[in-house]
C-alpha cells in the first residue's frame, strides 16, 4: 500500500514538473518590460545599482514587511528556546585556536560588512549581504564562546535587534505628510537609503546570528 502511494506521489510530482516545463516553453513574448522602467527612474531613486533601488525604494514596502517577518521569526525562536533550557547539556569549552581565530577574523568580517553596505549603492552588495556577513561573524564568535549575552538578552541587544525595523518605520512614516507611506524626497533619497540600510545591516546581522545562537543548543 505504502509503495503504491509513494509511486503515485512521485508520478504526480513528475507530471507537475512536466506541466510547468511545457507552460514555460509556451510562454509568449514579453508585454511589459520592467528593466527599462527601472533604468529610466534610477536617477531619481538615490542609488546607482538597480537591484538596491528596487529593494529599498521602488519596492521598499516589501523590504519593510520582510524585516518585520524576520523579527517575528526570532521572537518565535526565543519563545521556544526558553522551554528547552532544562535539557541543556553544557557545551565543551572552546578550543583556544578557535578563539584566537575568531578574535582575528571578527573585526575583518565587520570591515567587509561595512564595505558591502557602502558599495551597495553602486555595485552588487547592500544591507542583506552585509547583514549576512555580520551574522556569520556573530555565529563564529558564538561558537568560540565569546558571546555570552545571548543567553539572557539585555536591553542593548534587544535595542539593536529592533533598530533596523524602527529606523525603516520612522523613515516610512516621515514620508506620510507628502501624501504616501515610504516616500523619499528625491534630493534626500540617497542619504535616507543609506540610513535605512545601516540600521537594516545591524538588525539583520543580529537577527540572523540570533536565529542560530538562541536555539536550544546554546543555553550556557
Amino acid at each position: 500500500m505504502k509503495v503504491w502511494l509513494t509511486a503515485l506521489i512521485a508520478l504526480l510530482c513528475s507530471g507537475l514538473a512536466l506541466a510547468l516545463g511545457a507552460a514555460m516553453l509556451a510562454l509568449p513574448e514579453f508585454v511589459v518590460r520592467l528593466p527599462g522602467q527601472v533604468t529610466a527612474n534610477l536617477v531619481d531613486s538615490g542609488v546607482a545599482h538597480p537591484v538596491t533601488a528596487v529593494l529599498l525604494n521602488f519596492r521598499g514596502y516589501d523590504t519593510l514587511l520582510e524585516v518585520a517577518v524576520l523579527l517575528l521569526a526570532l521572537l518565535g525562536v526565543f519563545a521556544l528556546s526558553h522551554h528547552a533550557s532544562g535539557h541543556a547539556h553544557p557545551s565543551a569549552p572552546a578550543h583556544p585556536v578557535l578563539q584566537t581565530l575568531a578574535q582575528l577574523l571578527a573585526p575583518l568580517m565587520v570591515l567587509v560588512a561595512g564595505y558591502l553596505l557602502w558599495v551597495g549603492a553602486h555595485a552588487p552588495g547592500g544591507a542583506f549581504q552585509a547583514g549576512a556577513v555580520l551574522a556569520a561573524a556573530g555565529v563564529l564568535l558564538g561558537l568560540a564562546g565569546l558571546l555570552p549575552a545571548w543567553a539572557q538578552p539585555g536591553v542593548l541587544l534587544r535595542g539593536g535587534l529592533a533598530l533596523g525595523l524602527l529606523v525603516f518605520l520612522a523613515v516610512a512614516v516621515a514620508g506620510l505628510p507628502q501624501g504616501e507611506l515610504l516616500h523619499y524626497p528625491p534630493a534626500l533619497a540617497g542619504a535616507l537609503i543609506l540610513l535605512v540600510e545601516a540600521g537594516l545591516t545591524l538588525s539583520i546581522g543580529l537577527t540572523l546570528a540570533g536565529l542560530y545562537l538562541a536555539s536550544a543548543g546554546w543555553r550556557q
Binding site: F128, A132, V139, G217
Partner: protein, 86 residues
C-alpha cells in the same frame, strides 16, 4: 554546444542530483552536507543568471547560515540519542 551551454547543463545536473540525493540518502548528516553543497551550487547558478546580489546572499544565508542551523539541529539530535532513556 558552446562552453557556456555545457557548463549550464553540468551545473543543472549537479543541482538536481545533489537535491535528489540530499532527500534520499540514509544518514541525515550526509543529507545536510549535500544540502550545503546544493546551496553553493545555487550560488553558482545565480552568478550565471547575472544576479550577483542573489549569489552573495545565497552563499552566505542559504548555504552558510541555513547549513549551520541544520548542523546544530543534528548535533542536538545526536546528543539526545546518546542520553540514557528515562
Amino acid at each position: 554546444m558552446t562552453p557556456a551551454l555545457a557548463f549550464d547543463l553540468l551545473l543543472i545536473a549537479a543541482l538536481l542530483w545533489s537535491a535528489a540525493r540530499a532527500l534520499t540518502i540514509a544518514d541525515v548528516f550526509h543529507a545536510v552536507v549535500l544540502f550545503i553543497v546544493f546551496g553553493l551550487l545555487m550560488a553558482l547558478a545565480w552568478a550565471r543568471l547575472s544576479a550577483p546580489d542573489i549569489a552573495l546572499a545565497e552563499a552566505a544565508i542559504g548555504a552558510g547560515l541555513t547549513g549551520a542551523l541544520l548542523l546544530d539541529a543534528i548535533g542536538h539530535l545526536r546528543a539526545k540519542r546518546r542520553e540514557p532513556e528515562q
